[in-house]
C-alpha cells in the first residue's frame, strides 16, 4: 500500500504526460496538468511518519521514502508546481504549442517529485536526470534565438553535471558497498567522489563559478516555468548535498570552509551583477544565485559545526522552503505586468501580493524570511567559529542589504512595463499568485505552530534589529544609487556573465578551426606552430581512416596472415 502511495507521486504526472503526448487535442486533459502535483502535496501533508517502500525488481533495487527533510521539500515542490501549473493554464491558453510545453512540464514535475522520495543512488540519479533533461524543453519553449542559446548552455552544463553526479555516485557507492543514499553518506565520500558530487549537484544549485547557465535559462523560459525552475528545481542540488555529503561526520573542515566561502561569494556577487541588469526576470535569476549562496553557506556551516548540525540542516530546509515560495511568487509577479487592475481594492491587493514576497526575501520582521534568516544565524551567536569564519554571521546579515537593493531594482524595472488589464482580471492567475504570495505570512505561522522538532523556534525569532538595519541600509544604498547614477537603463554586465566569456573562448576555438580548414596563402605568424600541429593531427586522423580502407593495407595484412599460417604449419 505504501508502495502504491509513493510510486503514485512521480507516476501520476508521467502517465498524464503520456496521455497528453498521445492525444494532444484533448482540452480536458490539459486542465488536469496542475493537479498532477496533488498526490505529492497530499503525501507531504498526510503521510504517516516513516512511510517507505522497497521495490527489489525495479532497476537494481529501488527505495522510496518520506523523511522529515523530504517532507518539507515535497510540500514546497508540489505546492509550487501546483500554483505555477494553475498560472500556466491561463498563461499558455493561446499558445499553439502548449501540449509540448505541458508534456515537458509533467516530465520535469515527475522528476522533481521523484528525486525527493528517492532514497537510493540509482533512483535519485534517474529522477534527477529526468528533471534536468525535461527542463530543457521548458527553457527553449519560446523558440526565440535567445532561448535556444540559453537552452544550449543549460543543456551542456546539465549533461556535465549529470556525468559528474554519475561518477561521484559510482565512486561513493563503491566505497559504501551499497547504493542507498544513507549508506553512501555514512561512508563519507572523500576525495574525487566528494568533489564530483559537490560539482555535479552544485551546477543545479547555481554554485559559483558554475552558475552562469542560470541567469540565461531561468528568464528565457515562460513565466510559470521560470517560477518552478528558480523555486523548486534549483533546490534539487541542495537536497542532493544534504543527502549525500558526509554531514553526519565531523572532520570535513576543508569542504565546509570551501562551501561557506563559495556561498558567501555567490551571495554578494549575485547581488553585484544582478543590480547591473535591466530585465526583471534576469534580476530575479541573479537573486536566486545570491539566495542559493546563503543556503550553501548553511550547508558549509553544518559541516563545520557538528554540534549544531541538526539545527542548521533544519534551518537550511526552512530557508529553502521560504525562498522557493517567495521566489516562485516573484517570478509569477513578473508575469502579472498586464494585470494592473482599475478598482482600488484590487490595486491594494495587487500591491500587497507584489511587495509581500519581496519583503520576505529581504527578511522584513514577521515574514517567512525573518524566521528563516534568524534560524540560520542562531547557532552562530556564540564564538563558535574562528579565523575569518567568525565574520560569517555579520556577512550573512549584510547580504540582506544586498537583497533589498536587488529587489528594489527588480520592482523598479518591472514597474516600467506595467499595463492596465484591459479585458478584465485573469482570476486563475490571481489565485495562484496571491496564494503563493500569502505563504510569506503563513509559512512562519505554520512553522511556529507545527514546526520540526529539530528547530524549536519561538515568536521572538520573528523580529530583531539584525533584520531591520540591513533593509534600511539597502534602502539607503538604493536611494544613493538612484541619485548618483543617471543612465539606469543600460545593462552593465551581459546576462550570464561567465557564459559570455566561455562562448567567446569557444568561438575563437571554432574560428581557428575554420581557418584551419581553408589555410590561406600566408598563415598568421604567432600561433602558427600550434595550428600546424592541430592541422597535422586532423589530417593524420583522416588519413588514418582512409588508409585503413585501402587495398594495399588489407593486402599487406593478408600476406602477413598467409606467412603466419605457413610458419605455423612449418612449426607443427
Amino acid at each position: 500500500m505504501s508502495g502504491v502511495l509513493l510510486l503514485a507521486v512521480p507516476l501520476v504526472p508521467l502517465m498524464l504526460a503520456v496521455f497528453i503526448g498521445l492525444r494532444p487535442g484533448r482540452a480536458r486533459l490539459n486542465r488536469l496538468v496542475p493537479w498532477a502535483a496533488l498526490p505529492g502535496l497530499a503525501l507531504a501533508a498526510l503521510a504517516p511518519p516513516g512511510l517507505e517502500a522497497t521495490f527489489s525488481s525495479l532497476l537494481m533495487g529501488t527505495h522510496l521514502a518520506v523523511d522529515p527533510t523530504g517532507r518539507a521539500f515535497l510540500g514546497l515542490t508540489a505546492g509550487l508546481w501546483l500554483a505555477a501549473g494553475l498560472f500556466a493554464l491561463s498563461d499558455r491558453r493561446d499558445d499553439p504549442r502548449r501540449h509540448r510545453f505541458y508534456v515537458f512540464w509533467l516530465l520535469a514535475l515527475a522528476g522533481n517529485l521523484g528525486l525527493i522520495l528517492a532514497q537510493d543512488a540509482i533512483a535519485f540519479y534517474l529522477f534527477f536526470s529526468l528533471m534536468s533533461l525535461s527542463a530543457y524543453g521548458l527553457v527553449i519553449h519560446s523558440g526565440k534565438p535567445e532561448a535556444w542559446r540559453a537552452g544550449r548552455i543549460y543543456l551542456i552544463l546539465a549533461v556535465i553535471g549529470e556525468v559528474f553526479l554519475f561518477a561521484g555516485l559510482v565512486l561513493a557507492a563503491h566505497a559504501a558497498g551499497q547504493s542507498s543514499l544513507a549508506a553512501v553518506a555514512a561512508a563519507r565520500p572523500e576525495g574525487w567522489a566528494q568533489v564530483l558530487l559537490v560539482l555535479g549537484l552544485g551546477i543545479k544549485a547555481g554554485m559559483l563559478p558554475l552558475h552562469f547557465w542560470l541567469p540565461l535559462a531561468h528568464p528565457a523560459a515562460p513565466v510559470p516555468a521560470s517560477a518552478v525552475l528558480s523555486g523548486a528545481m534549483i533546490k534539487a542540488g541542495l537536497l542532493g548535498w544534504m543527502r549525500l555529503l558526509p554531514i553526519d561526520a565531523a572532520g570535513h573542515a576543508a569542504l565546509g570552509e570551501a562551501l561557506v566561502l563559495l556561498g558567501l561569494a555567490a551571495a554578494f556577487l549575485g547581488v553585484a551583477v544582478g543590480v547591473l541588469q535591466v530585465r526583471p526576470k534576469t534580476i530575479l535569476a541573479y537573486s536566486s544565485i545570491s539566495q542559493m549562496g546563503l543556503m550553501t553557506t548553511g550547508i558549509g556551516l553544518a559541516l563545520l559545526l557538528p554540534e549544531a548540525r541538526g539545527w542548521l540542516l533544519a534551518a537550511v530546509t526552512l530557508y529553502a522552503v521560504h525562498h522557493g515560495l517567495a521566489k516562485g511568487a516573484l517570478f509569477l509577479t513578473a508575469g502579472m505586468q498586464r494585470q494592473w487592475p482599475v478598482a482600488r481594492p484590487a490595486r491594494a491587493a495587487f500591491a500587497l501580493f507584489t511587495l509581500l514576497p519581496a519583503l520576505a526575501l529581504a527578511g522584513l520582521p514577521f515574514t517567512s524570511g525573518a524566521l528563516a534568516k534568524n534560524a540560520l544565524k542562531e547557532p552562530l551567536a556564540a564564538e563558535a567559529l574562528s579565523g575569518w569564519l567568525a565574520h560569517t554571521e555579520w556577512l550573512l546579515t549584510l547580504a540582506a542589504a544586498g537583497t533589498t537593493v536587488l529587489l528594489l531594482r527588480f520592482l523598479w524595472r518591472w514597474r516600467a512595463d506595467l499595463e492596465t488589464a484591459t479585458d478584465g482580471l485573469d482570476r486563475p492567475r490571481w489565485w495562484a499568485w496571491g496564494g503563493l504570495s500569502l505563504m510569506a505570512l503563513l509559512l512562519p505561522l505554520a512553522t511556529l505552530l507545527a514546526g520540526p522538532t529539530a528547530l524549536p523556534l519561538s515568536v521572538h525569532d520573528l523580529y530583531g534589529s539584525s533584520l531591520l538595519w540591513p533593509v534600511m541600509l539597502g534602502l539607503g544604498l538604493a536611494l544613493l544609487a538612484w541619485r548618483g547614477v543617471r543612465d539606469r537603463e543600460t545593462p552593465r554586465v551581459p546576462e550570464g556573465d561567465l557564459a559570455v566569456l566561455a562562448e567567446a573562448a569557444w568561438d575563437s576555438v571554432r574560428r581557428t578551426r575554420r581557418r584551419l580548414a581553408l589555410p590561406g596563402p600566408w598563415p598568421p605568424r604567432i600561433p602558427a606552430r600550434m595550428r600546424a600541429l592541430r592541422l597535422g593531427a586532423r589530417r593524420r586522423l583522416e588519413a588514418a581512416e582512409r588508409m585503413l580502407t585501402r587495398w594495399e593495407t588489407i593486402g599487406l595484412l593478408f600476406s602477413a596472415a598467409m606467412l603466419g599460417l605457413y610458419l605455423t604449419l612449418l612449426a607443427g
Binding site: M60, I122, L133, V170, L171, E545, L548, T549, F558, G572
Partner: protein, 506 residues
C-alpha cells in the same frame, strides 16, 4: 529426446527454411513469409525450451568427429544461451522488419536465403563447444553476410562488400592460424570456464601471448576494435535490416562473443591477467570507445553516426571482459544484450526515417517527431539508452562497468566512461532535439506513400511494430533489471555459475 538433438533442431530451424527459400520463385511471397516467420518462431520456441532446460541444470551436448582428435561440438551453457536467445529474439523482430522493408523490391529470395544462413551461423557460434567449431561457423557467417551487404548492387555497396570481405577473410586467416597453432599446442579442448591453458603458462608464456594477440586480431575485426574497424562504417550502405543484423544480432556480436570466449573459457581470467593480456585489451577497448565517439561526432549521416557509435559501444563489452572482475564482467556481458536491443532500435528508426520520409542526414530531422511520433519516441529511448540514462538498458551496463573498474582498482576507466558519456550525449542529443523541437516549414517528401499508398499508422506497420517492440524491450530490461530473468539477472547467474574469477567473494 536427447539433449543434443535440441541443439541441432535450433540450428536447422533457420537453416532449413533458409535453403528452401533459395529455391522459391520470386513471386511466392506468401510462402516465403510463412517460411521466414515459421523458422523464426520455431527457433524462438526451441531456444525457450533450451533456456528452461539450462535453468534446470540439464546438460546439452552434440558431438561429431571431424578428424582424429578434433570434434565438431555443440554445447549449451548459460553464456551460449545469452547470445542464442538474444539473436533468436532479435532475428524474429528483424525478419518482420525486413519483410516490411523489402516489400516490392527485387531479389528477395536471395536476400532471405542468406539472411537465414546468417542467423544459423550466429546460433552455431553461440552454441559452439570448442574453438574449431567456433571457427567453422564464424567463417560461414562471414561468407553468408557478404551477399547481404552488397544486396543493392550499387557501386558503393559493392565497394563496401569488397572491403568487408577483405577485412573479414584476412582476419579469418589470422584466426585460422591462431586456432591451428593453439590446437597443436594444447589439443582441441572444449570451452572450459576458467580456461584450459594453465599447464602451458610456465613453458609457453610468450607463445600464449602471441597467440592471444593473433586471436584478438582475428576477432577484433568483427568486433570493430580500432584500428580494425573501418569496414563497419562503410558497410552502413547496406539496407537497414542488414545493418541491424551486422550491428546488433550477428556479426559484430560474433566478434565480441569470440573475445569473451577466449578470455574466459580458453585462457581464463586468471591466466590472462597473469600474462598481462587484459591490460593491453583494456587499453585498446578504451581507445576504441573514445575514438568511435569522436568519429561519430564528426559525421552528419545518421546511419554512419550510428555505425561509429557501434564501434564505441561494442568496446564496452570488451572493456567489461578485460576488467576481469565479477562486476566488470557482468557489465560487459549484459551489454552484449543491451547494446543489441538499443542499437537495433536505432537502426530500425534510421531505416524508417529513410524509407518513409527519405531522411538520411541528421540536419534533415527537424520536426520529424510530429510526423512520426512513435518512431521518434523509440529513437529517443535508444539514444538516451546509449548515453546511459536510467531507467534504460545502457545505464545498467554503465553502472556495473563503473563499479567493476573501481573494483579492479582502475579508476581511470571511470574517466573513460565519463568522457564517453559526454561524447555520446554530444552526438545523440542533437538528433533527438531536432526531431522533437525543430520546426519544419515545407511539407514532407513521402517516398513510401509514393509507391505504396497511404498507410494506416505513421509508416508501414511491419516497419513500425518492430521499432516499438525493441524500444519497449530496451526500457523494460533496464527498468526491471532486478528481476531474475532479466538480462542482468541471467548474467549474474552466469558469473556465479560458470566463471572462476579472481577476487569474487561477495
Amino acid at each position: 529426446m536427447d539433449g543434443g538433438w535440441l541443439l541441432l533442431a535450433i540450428l536447422f530451424s533457420s537453416l532449413g527454411p533458409g535453403i528452401a527459400i533459395f529455391f522459391l520463385p520470386e513471386h511466392r511471397q506468401g510462402l516465403r513469409t510463412a517460411l521466414n516467420l515459421g523458422g523464426a518462431g520455431t527457433k524462438l520456441a526451441l531456444v525457450g525450451v533450451l533456456l528452461a532446460g539450462v535453468l534446470r541444470g540439464d546438460e546439452y551436448r552434440f558431438s561429431l568427429p571431424l578428424m582424429p582428435g578434433i570434434d565438431l561440438v555443440l554445447a549449451a551453457d548459460a553464456l551460449s544461451l545469452l547470445f542464442a536467445s538474444l539473436s533468436a529474439v532479435l532475428w524474429f523482430v528483424t525478419t518482420v522488419y525486413a519483410i516490411g522493408y523489402l516489400e516490392g523490391s527485387p531479389r528477395r529470395s536471395r536476400f532471405f536465403g542468406f539472411f537465414s544462413l546468417c542467423v544459423s551461423a550466429t546460433v552455431g557460434i553461440a552454441l559452439s563447444g570448442n574453438l574449431i567449431t567456433f571457427l567453422i561457423f564464424y567463417e560461414i557467417l562471414t561468407l553468408a553476410t557478404w551477399p547481404l551487404v552488397v544486396h543493392r548492387g550499387t557501386p558503393a555497396a559493392l565497394r563496401a562488400g569488397r572491403l568487408y570481405l577483405g577485412y573479414t577473410l584476412t582476419s579469418g586467416l589470422v584466426l585460422f592460424t591462431a586456432i591451428v597453432w593453439l590446437t597443436l599446442l594444447a589439443g582441441a579442448e572444449g570451452f572450459t570456464p576458467g580456461g584450459y591453458l594453465e599447464g602451458l603458462a610456465e613453458t609457453h608464456a610468450v607463445t600464449l601471448q602471441v597467440l592471444f594477440v593473433l586471436l584478438m586480431v582475428g576477432f577484433g575485426v568483427k568486433a570493430a576494435l580500432v584500428p580494425l574497424h573501418s569496414w563497419l562504417p562503410i558497410a552502413m550502405v547496406a539496407p537497414a535490416p542488414v545493418s541491424a543484423l551486422l550491428h546488433a544480432v550477428a556479426v559484430v556480436k560474433a566478434g565480441a562473443f569470440g573475445i569473451i570466449r577466449v578470455v574466459n573459457d580458453v585462457y581464463g581470467a586468471e591466466l590472462a591477467i597473469e600474462l598481462g593480456l587484459t591490460a593491453g585489451l583494456l587499453v585498446i577497448a578504451a581507445v576504441t570507445i573514445i575514438y568511435g565517439s569522436i568519429q561519430a561526432l564528426r559525421t552528419d549521416d545518421l546511419k554512419q553516426r550510428l555505425a561509429f557509435s557501434t564501434v564505441s559501444q561494442v568496446s564496452y563489452i570488451i572493456l567489461g571482459v578485460a576488467l576481469a572482475g565479477p562486476l566488470g564482467v557482468i557489465g560487459g556481458l549484459v551489454h552484449l544484450v543491451h547494446q543489441g536491443i538499443t542499437k537495433i532500435t536505432l537502426f530500425f528508426c534510421a531505416g524508417n526515417f529513410a524509407e518513409t520520409l527519405g531522411i538520411h542526414r541528421i540536419s534533415e530531422l527537424d520536426g520529424v517527431g510530429r510526423r512520426m511520433p512513435l518512431t521518434m519516441l523509440a529513437f529517443t529511448a535508444g539514444a538516451l539508452g546509449m548515453i546511459g540514462l536510467p531507467p534504460l538498458a545502457g545505464f545498467v551496463t554503465k553502472w556495473h562497468l563503473g563499479l567493476g573498474a573501481l573494483e579492479a582498482g582502475m579508476p581511470w576507466i571511470l574517466g573513460v566512461l565519463v568522457l564517453s558519456s559526454l561524447l555520446n550525449a554530444a552526438y545523440f542529443l542533437p538528433p533527438v532535439i531536432r526531431g522533437w523541437l525543430g520546426e519544419r516549414r515545407e511539407p514532407w517528401h513521402e517516398p513510401l506513400q509514393g509507391h505504396a499508398g497511404p498507410t494506416r499508422f505513421e509508416t508501414h506497420w511491419m516497419l513500425l511494430f518492430p521499432v516499438v517492440f525493441t524500444a519497449a524491450l530496451g526500457l523494460l530490461v533496464g527498468l526491471f533489471a532486478g528481476l531474475g530473468l532479466s538480462p542482468l539477472g541471467w548474467v549474474s547467474l552466469i558469473v556465479q555459475r560458470d566463471y572462476s574469477l579472481p577476487g569474487f567473494g561477495l
